[in-house]
Structures are given as structure tokens and as C-alpha cells.
Amino acid sequence: MNRDETSKVVPFDRRRRYPDPARVAAFGATARQLMQEKADSADAVLRVLRETPRDRWATLVDRPEFLTSGTLDSLAKLAAELERDPQESLAATALAIAIAEALPDGAYPIVVIEQHRGQAWKDRARALCYLARYEEALAALDRADAFFEGHGTLAHDRAIADFVRSIVLSHLRRFDEAQELLESCRSVFNDHGDVPLYRKCTVAAGNLLVRRGDYRAAREVLRELLRDGDAEATARARFALGWCAIHLGVPEEALEHFNDAVRRQKQLASQLEVVRATYGAGCALVRLGRLDDAIEHLTYARSHFLEHAFIEEAGLSGLEIVEACMLRDEFEPARTLAATIVQEFTDAALNRRAVAALAYLNDAIAASSATPEIVRHVHAYITELRFDPTREFVLVN
């Protein structure tokens, strides 16, 4: 054969497997359809959502042009912006679920449709968890699993849902189940070479140990992440290490970790995490007796928590300020702030036990019988209520 003839020969290797051309073509067509819809929907969906009152978003499912994979991609992106507006994220997930379940059969390959449906429920669970609606989050994850479990090819998606479930379970103090799930999904992420999610599992494992109260073990796990060098993982590890140090009675070390977390989260432009780390630094400063600095940090954190409607976190920040005020013998500002917190909790219809504990503190301050220990006791009780909403408040002597 001369060179011209050689160039016309179709290369063929007997040992190599060749795909069915019809399947390749179908795959290519699906890929282009998904990419095109994603590009087309990016701005269009957000524009329509902006023009539609949030309580009417659910009606958008009736618009045929919204029944696309691209719309679901845009809604998933919006749902992920939990820090900016968790209620909006939750509303986005409700619309995403309605659209995913209304996708006509045959619009996409079944595995893509089920992937969308599972993801929409998983995103809802994540938003519910963020809003501390843990039981509803677990129910949403059961729905997600029902879509993923039929497809072995969606193991990665299912592991992400399991990761969210482990976070929810850790909030509910079901630590053993949470840890088992974390280990299992970490292994799946490892199998897929998904380093960022593998790292997130390690951070979550550290946080789980913090919640369990095993601060020394948590410190070991979290310090590993500092060696890793990843910006986000390091910032999160520093934050968790700060709480370990607080609980181990080393406020100097805690302050160092929290300050570093603030700096790194600022670089990552993660506003709410900056606020949380600032709150941690404020707590460390109270324990160090640097009360002016503490009040400054805590006031900043409290105002931002209120801005984001995180009433409980705002209340806890407020209680730290109350404690700082009392340590400075400033009882009137302490009493005024405690009364404000009671009102905020009442208005937000938070756990009535928390309101009762705060009211007790308020009365104690008014009667000049309150001490910083009582403030800390109420603080600890309100934190505990997150995990055990029926726990009774026990008075301190």
C-alpha cells in the first residue's frame, strides 16, 4: 500500500472493544442537549425567579419551558447558596423537586432523570438541615435514596446524599450512625478520586468528634487537614480546632485558631463562616478576660446572625455579651440584652424551654442574683436543646 492508501485504512485493534455507534451517537446527543440547556437556562431561570414572588415559584412548574435539565441545574446552583438566603434556597429546592418529578419520560435517559430527582431531594435535605429541621431533612434523604438506589452508576450521587445524612445525624446526636455513614461515603469518594469531597468527609469526621465531646481525638484528625494545605479544609479545620481548644480550656490557642479561620474565610469570601469564626474568637476573648475586645467581636457576630435570621446563634452570641457585661459589673446592659434575647426567641417561636431558661436568667439579673456561671449554664442548656429539644432546664444553685 502506498501512503495514500494507508491513510484510508480504518485503524482496528482486534483486542480492543468498540462501542455501539448508535449508543455513542445517543450519548453525544444527550450531552449536547444537557450542555445547551444549561447554558440557555443560566440567566433565563434566575430572571423569571426574580420577577416571580417566592410564594408563587411553585406555579412555574406549569410552564413547559421550565421542564428541562438546564432549569434544574440553575435551581441546584441557587439551592447551594444557603449562606446567602437559606429560605430562598429551600424554595428553590421545592420548585426543583416539582420540576424533576414532572420531567416527561423519554425527555432524557432514565439515569439522568433519576439523578435529577434524587439530587433535588438531596438539596432540599441540605437546606432543611441548614435550617435545623433535621427530621424533615432525613425524610427528604429517604426520598433521594429511593431514586439513587436503583442505579449503581449513581453511587457517587448516593454517597453525597449519605454525606448530608451523616451531618444531619450528627446534629441529632446519632453519632455512631453518622460515623458509619461518613466512613462509607468517604470510601466511595476515594474510589472516584474525588479529593475535595474526601477532604470534606475528614472535616466532618473531626466535627463529629467535637460534637461527641472527644476533643483530643478531634484535634488529631483536624490537624491532619492543616498539613494537607487545602484552603477551605484548612479554614474549616482551624474553626473546629478553635472549639476544641475552648473546651480543653486553652483560650489562647482557641483565639489563634479562630483568628486564622476568620482570615482564611475572608479570603474564601465566605461571609457567614467569617461571622461564625468571629463569634468563636469572641468566646475565646471572654475566657481570656479581654472583655472589650470580646464584646466588639460578639456584637459584630450577633448583628450579622440577626441579619441572616439565625436567631438562635444571635441569642448565643448575645448571652456571651451578657456574660462579658456581668464580668465587668455592668448589670443594666446585661439585663436589657437578656430581655431583648427573650423577645427575639419568643417572636421566632423557638423552643419554649429556651425561652423559659432565658426568662429565668432575665429575672435573676433583675433580682441581682445572676452570676456569669448562671449565664454560661443557660448558654449550655440552649445549645443542648438543639440536640435534645425536650430536655428540662435545671436551675443552678
Binding site: 444537557l34 449503581g152 452508576t153 472516584h192
Partner: protein, 173 residues
């Protein structure tokens, strides 16, 4: 809709990706997990479809696809009623690229049997168990009374010897 702002989508990009990874993924499913050929091809197709919506997030495509096909293949057997070996056994069942290459040249059953005849009896037995009876490495080890790691080594060594001896003899007519 704003088609003018849409990124240009390469006409052959996805097909090329499909063709690039198809062979590897099918082989993993077939040789490592012994999923039937036609089913393995369906699994690979679904793995590639599942990847599409994650393409922005996947940093290491090959690892992701390999992980996905391994999980999909295990799931296949869970669905089809065969016990899949545990993780510890999976470690010794892990794909050896060299074995895959050798197996490629032994896909013809008759030729493979002829190649086996060139081997000493111990190797013949271990390869017969593994490839004609479909035993896992752990099962081979148990039946031969040796450790799984030793079984894996003997299998690899046996395949290499078979390839060499068979090559020296030439393909029988």
C-alpha cells in the same frame, strides 16, 4: 433564551470521550467483576451519562469513571443475586493492567485452553479455576490452600507464562 451567549459545544468532544474510555471501562466490568459483556456495555453507557451532569466538578475524569464502573458492577451483582466479595477481597481482586493486556490476547476460549496446556499443572489448575470456573481470587486461594495474595501472584505469573509459551509455539491451526 440566550443562544448567542451559549458556549460553543464541540461536536465530537463527547463521542471522543466515550470512545476513549469505553474499552477500559468495559474490561474492568467484565474481567474484574465478570459482568456479562452486553450488560457491562450498558453499565458503561450509564456511567458516562451519570458523569455528564458532574463534568464541571470532576477533577480526575479517569479515576471518577473507574470508580463509577466498579460501583456499578458491584451493584449489578447485588441486583442479580450474586454475593459480591467484601472490600478486603476486592483488594486482591484489583485490576492488574498487565493481566488485562494478557487477557485481551486470550479472549478466544479455545486458544486460551491450548495456551493453558503449555503450562505446568499447578498453573493450569489455578488459571482453570479463575477463568473457566469463574472463581474469585479468594475462592481460588481457598481451593488451592494458599493465601489470596499468593493466588493473585500465581495467576499473574501463570498468565504471563501462558502468553510467552503460547507466543513461542505459535497459534495452532
Amino acid at each position: 433564551m440566550t443562544p448567542q451567549t451559549s458556549p460553543r459545544i464541540d461536536d465530537r468532544l463527547f463521542e471522543a470521550m466515550y470512545e476513549q474510555y469505553f474499552d477500559l471501562l468495559v474490561k474492568i466490568s467484565v474481567y474484574k467483576f465478570r459482568v456479562p459483556d452486553s450488560e457491562a456495555e450498558g453499565l458503561v453507557h450509564d456511567v458516562l451519562l451519570a458523569y455528564l451532569r458532574k463534568s464541571d466538578l470532576v477533577l480526575d475524569l479517569k479515576s471518577w469513571l473507574v470508580g463509577a464502573i466498579c460501583h456499578a458492577s458491584r451493584h449489578y451483582w447485588r441486583q442479580n443475586g450474586r454475593n459480591v466479595t467484601g472490600d478486603a477481597q476486592m483488594d486482591v481482586d484489583r485490576v492488574d493492567p498487565a493481566s488485562l493486556r494478557i487477557l485481551d490476547s486470550l479472549t478466544d476460549q479455545i486458544a486460551a485452553r491450548e495456551a493453558l496446556e503449555c503450562l505446568p499443572p499447578r498453573y493450569q489448575e489455578i488459571l482453570r479455576l479463575r477463568y473457566f470456573e469463574g472463581c474469585t481470587v479468594a475462592e481460588v486461594a481457598e481451593r488451592m490452600g494458599i493465601k489470596p495474595k499468593s493466588a493473585q501472584k500465581l495467576i499473574t505469573k501463570g498468565l504471563r507464562r501462558a502468553e510467552r509459551l503460547y507466543g513461542e509455539k505459535g497459534r495452532p491451526k
